[in-house]
């Protein structure tokens, strides 16, 4: 049988303990072990950003971190930040501006955008574009996403 490790971490405010294979990615762990399917898998090589989650307050690629590395960490996902209302302003502006079409990139995009909102009180459109330039969106062409973030950060867009 495959070697396993015991891990304990806090996910969306709730402590969880599991026995996992050392090779399991954090995003696979969240999706398959915890049923948190909001974090999506788009490339599994750290490029597309669809699996972006927050670990100890920093956004990371869930496909580039192993579940065992999250032992003892605090992990926040799209589900948790939706329920805590932390994302409410961005979700509202994304909705009103149609800053999502198929919605597959959206959880990762919101996690990345919220990171900017948490760090900055103002940002230029160029800074917004640069901040989300690690997140693929194949549907929108990005402008509506930039507008939506711009609105939350700067009250316009």
């Amino acid at each position: 049988m495959e070697h396993t490790n015991d891990i304990t971490l806090t996910v969306n405010g709730t402590p969880v303990s599991r026995r996992v294979a050392p090779r399991q990615h954090l995003v696979d762990f969240l999706r398959d072990e915890l049923g948190l399917t909001g974090s999506h898998i788009g490339c599994e090589h750290g490029v597309c950003g669809a699996c972006t989650v927050r670990v100890n307050g920093e956004i990371v690629r869930g496909c580039l971190m192993l579940a065992v590395q999250a032992n003892g960490c605090t992990v926040d996902t799209i589900e948790g930040l939706s329920d805590s209302k932390e994302l409410a302003a961005l979700q509202k502006s994304f909705h009103e501006r149609n800053a999502l079409q198929c919605g597959f990139c959206t959880p990762g995009m919101l996690m990345a955008a919220q990171d900017l909102v948490n760090r900055k009180t103002k940002a230029s459109r160029e800074e917004i574009r640069a901040h989300i330039s690690g997140n693929y969106c194949r549907c929108t062409g990005y402008q509506a996403i930039v507008d939506a973030i711009d609105e939350v950060l700067n009250g316009q867009g």
């Binding site: 495959e2 788009g42 090589h45 490029v47 669809a50 589900e79 979700q91 919605g103 990005y142």
Partner: protein, 795 residues
């Protein structure tokens, strides 16, 4: 230009058009914003098995031996299967269409038997309790191969020195020649003849959610339920039924959330057919997700074309004739069931489309190669036809010393010339090229930009402005596929049902992959019935629930599905008025519905709310006259038939800055004026255009599937295959002309492919305009810094 007048209510009543023309936010977005969507990989099933495929490492090789012994013994493995085992359960297919005369392709199996014809073709399947275990076991399959000659280059394929499928005789899948006559004479008489060769890079859709399917066979009832990320559930129902030998009514295809499609998810994929067959073989649910590396190797590619084009022009700038020679390569198989002949066919149909010349000659070859298969991807053929038309038109204008906008003004088909038959035979109902050009030039402040451009050139800053006029196929009739024998529906249906609470449920055969289809249907249904939009629920993507229809492709969802919803909504409203008349003991003609209530037609006084109407109709019909039966579920269908296609038109412009030292292109701004008929939701229309433009920009500047001489894909991952990212994209300005089609009462034409159709041509012309002072030009997409520096002779 006024909005389309829509008689959504009884003639003579003074009621507004409801939600048509309003930028209503999509009602179904909250779940996606909260990560609570239902993509295939989010679904959980008991006894779910996972399949991983062993794929050919060679572009062309005979399978001498496949040894599954070690793989079968691996942890968690349920079964390992080769092509012959799966073929017992799934018959092969041949992708041809009767109206593409002479098209040929060999039979294709769900899993290759004896021979692999491209790198990435699946030759064995491992089913295991988890995907991880399945992939581990794939690594234990032992194979012996005999490498076969590889055909990679399409010019070489055309010469037929090595034949990929000897039984077909040559490498030509399909060819077409077209000639109006008089072309040679027109060229002989021309004052100016320009000629160029354009190359279009093979690229792919890169849906962020890979292809996904979960097939669940129930041996107890010989039924198959397939959860499938597809654009065309009914087409797939038919295909699973015929190739797996399960009665059509026992096959149900359910399409929940789909993470991008763009034409990629409207085709039959061998590995997906194998997944369905494996579910039947193993009598349990089986799931396949194409991972990113598999996606690059096996999602359809598109657009690999080499086109020579010549243009004959008079000294006054009048286009006299087009002469075209297109060559395109489509991999080793024509893709089922739409075939891989359509893109080349569209290039022949559409080239020169916006202009009023009468002489046209075209020659087109579609050839087989040992690369991944190609088929229809967003805007099919249009990006090629538009770019080569607009590229050669700009070259002619340059040679005549004429402004490109002025050159187009001289040649665009007049707005009062319709109905109009283009030399290639296609018919236009009503287009608005001149209105669109005028609006574009005004919106972008064209003269000011030209002034700025020439001022900056003196400072060594090289900006370029590129225009691209276009025509686009939308709302196709059965002329697209049905006439060729494909079981692909051009009609769609909608059911509208009044719920007892006064809400309205709409079920439509057109599917949603993020375009906003369900929102648009809610707007139409709410307007047609007379209820507020929060009272409408829309269900799509379930062959067990919705009426029969074609689904989503060729910019048809709003125009065809929307008309079916409009007709169903109106019929439901009429039936609701019958019930109200029976309850109120009034004449139906005295009543109307607005704002969730039945009102007096004349006084607008509220008579009964819809919840009360529903209560009586469903729970107390005993209080209604004995002979009266309410019918509060109605279904209507719609097929466009008067024209083969409801053509639309538009024009785009790109403003770029080229750095002659680095070869980098900076996109400064992009404009698009589009006439998509009645605009149902302006925000969604603009967002379709913007997303489409950015995919077109990807083709122009970044995207290409690069193959080595041995047929190996060199950049099949997201790090090496570049797509547009937010940092490089410009803001895109959209404006509209509204010329409703008279074929439907809704008047909507399609818009989903417009951006992708025009953007590559506009960007190409802008880059070449910027390079003009250096007397050089680029014609091979994507325009990478290296290609631009080569054109500048700097590398």
């Amino acid at each position: 230009m006024g909005k389309a007048e829509l008689p959504l209510h009884a003639p003579g009543t003074q009621v507004d058009k409801g939600y048509i023309g309003q930028s209503v936010p999509r009602p179904n977005l909250q779940r996606l914003l909260q990560g609570r969507g239902a993509f295939i990989d989010d679904l959980r099933f008991p006894r779910l098995a996972h399949v991983a495929f062993f794929r050919s490492p060679y572009a062309h090789a005979r399978i001498k031996k496949l040894d599954f012994e070690k793989a079968r013994k691996a942890n968690g493995v349920i079964g390992v299967f080769g092509g012959r085992a799966v073929a017992e359960y799934c018959t092969p297919w041949v992708a041809v269409l009767a109206h593409l005369k002479g098209i040929k392709s060999p039979p294709q199996h769900a899993i290759a038997i004896e021979r692999a014809c491209w790198q990435g073709e699946a030759v064995a399947a491992v089913v295991a309790e988890s995907r991880t275990q399945a992939e581990d076991a794939v690594g234990l399959i032992e194979a012996e191969w005999e490498e076969l000659p590889v055909v990679v280059d399409m010019e070489e394929s055309l010469k037929n020195t090595k034949t990929i499928h000897p039984e077909l005789g040559d490498n030509i899948c399909f060819k077409r020649e077209f000639d109006t006559g008089g072309v040679e004479e027109a060229f002989a008489q021309a004052d100016v003849v320009v000629e160029d060769t354009f190359h279009f890079g093979r690229h792919t859709g890169v849906c962020l959610e890979g292809r996904a399917i979960l097939a669940d066979y129930n041996a107890g009832e010989h039924s198959l339920t397939v959860y499938h990320a597809t654009q065309a559930p009914h087409m797939m129902q038919d295909i699973f039924s015929r190739h797996l030998g399960i009665p059509e009514a026992n096959v149900r295809v359910i399409t929940k959330d789909v993470g991008g499609s763009f034409g990629i998810k409207v085709h039959v994929y061998a590995d997906e057919m194998a997944t369905a067959a494996l579910s039947v073989m193993l009598r349990r649910p089986v799931k396949f997700l194409a991972d990113r590396l598999e996606s690059f190797l096996s999602d359809i590619h598109a657009r690999e074309h080499r086109v020579k084009v010549r243009l004959a022009v008079s000294k006054t700038g009048e286009i006299l004739a087009f002469d075209l020679d297109d060559l395109t390569a489509i991999g080793p198989y024509s893709v089922y069931p739409r075939t891989s002949g359509i893109e080349g066919n569209q290039v022949v149909n559409l080239t020169g489309g916006p202009y009023r010349h009468q002489k046209y000659r075209a020659k087109m070859h579609v050839v087989f190669t040992n690369k991944n298969v190609c088929c229809q991807y967003r805007a099919v053929g249009h990006p090629i036809a538009v770019a080569l038309t607009e590229g050669i038109v700009d070259l002619a204008a340059q040679k005549l010393g004429m402004d490109p906008a002025q050159f187009r003004k001289i040649n665009l088909i007049a707005d009062d010339a319709y109905p109009y038959t283009f030399p290639s035979g296609i018919k236009f109902e009503q287009l608005s090229h001149h209105k669109a050009l005028d609006l574009l030039l005004k919106t972008m402040q064209y003269p000011k930009l030209r002034e700025e451009q020439s001022r900056l050139r003196q400072k060594g800053i090289y900006r370029g402005i590129g225009l691209a006029a276009m025509i686009e196929v939308t709302n196709p009739s059965p002329a697209f596929y049905g006439v060729g024998g494909a079981r692909i529906s051009a009609q769609d249906g909608a059911t509208a049902r009044l719920e007892p609470s006064g809400m309205v449920t709409v079920m439509c055969s057109v599917t949603e992959q993020g375009q906003g289809t369900e929102a648009v249907f809610a707007q139409i249904a709410a307007s047609a019935v007379g209820v507020s939009i929060d009272k409408v629920r829309v269900i799509t993507g379930d062959t067990g629930v919705t009426p029969y229809g074609g689904g989503t492709w060729a910019s048809r969802g709003a125009g065809i599905g929307g008309e079916a919803v409009l007709q169903a909504g109106r019929a439901l409203r009429a039936n609701m008025l019958e019930v109200a008349a029976a309850i109120l003991k009034m004449e139906k003609a005295e009543l109307d519905i607005e704002k969730n209530s039945v009102v007096s037609l004349l006084t607008r006084e509220k008579k009964i709310d819809l919840a009360e109407l529903g209560r009586v109709a469903y729970f107390r019909p005993d209080t209604l006259p004995l002979e009266f039966q309410s019918e509060l579920t109605v279904t209507r269908h719609y097929t466009p038939r008067q024209y083969g296609f409801t053509f639309t038109n538009g024009i785009q412009a790109s403003l770029v800055e080229v750095d002659p030292d680095t070869g980098f292109v900076k996109l400064l701004k992009h404009w698009c004026v589009e006439d998509s008929g009645t605009v149902i939701n302006p925000m969604l229309v603009d967002e379709q255009i913007r997303g489409g433009v950015v995919q077109g920009i990807g083709a122009a500047l970044f995207e290409e599937c690069l193959y080595g001489p041995d047929g190996q894909l060199l950049n099949g991952n997201m790090a090496d295959y570049l797509v547009p990212m937010s940092g490089e994209m410009p803001d895109i300005v959209c404006a509209h002309i509204e010329t409703p089609t008279r074929q439907s009462q809704l008047g909507a034409k399609g818009v989903g492919e417009a951006g992708t159709a025009g953007a590559p041509g506009a960007v190409m012309n802008a880059v070449n305009d910027a390079l003009a002072p250096f007397n050089t030009r680029v014609t091979a997409m994507p325009f990478t810094p290296e290609r631009i520096l080569k054109a500048l002779k700097k590398v």
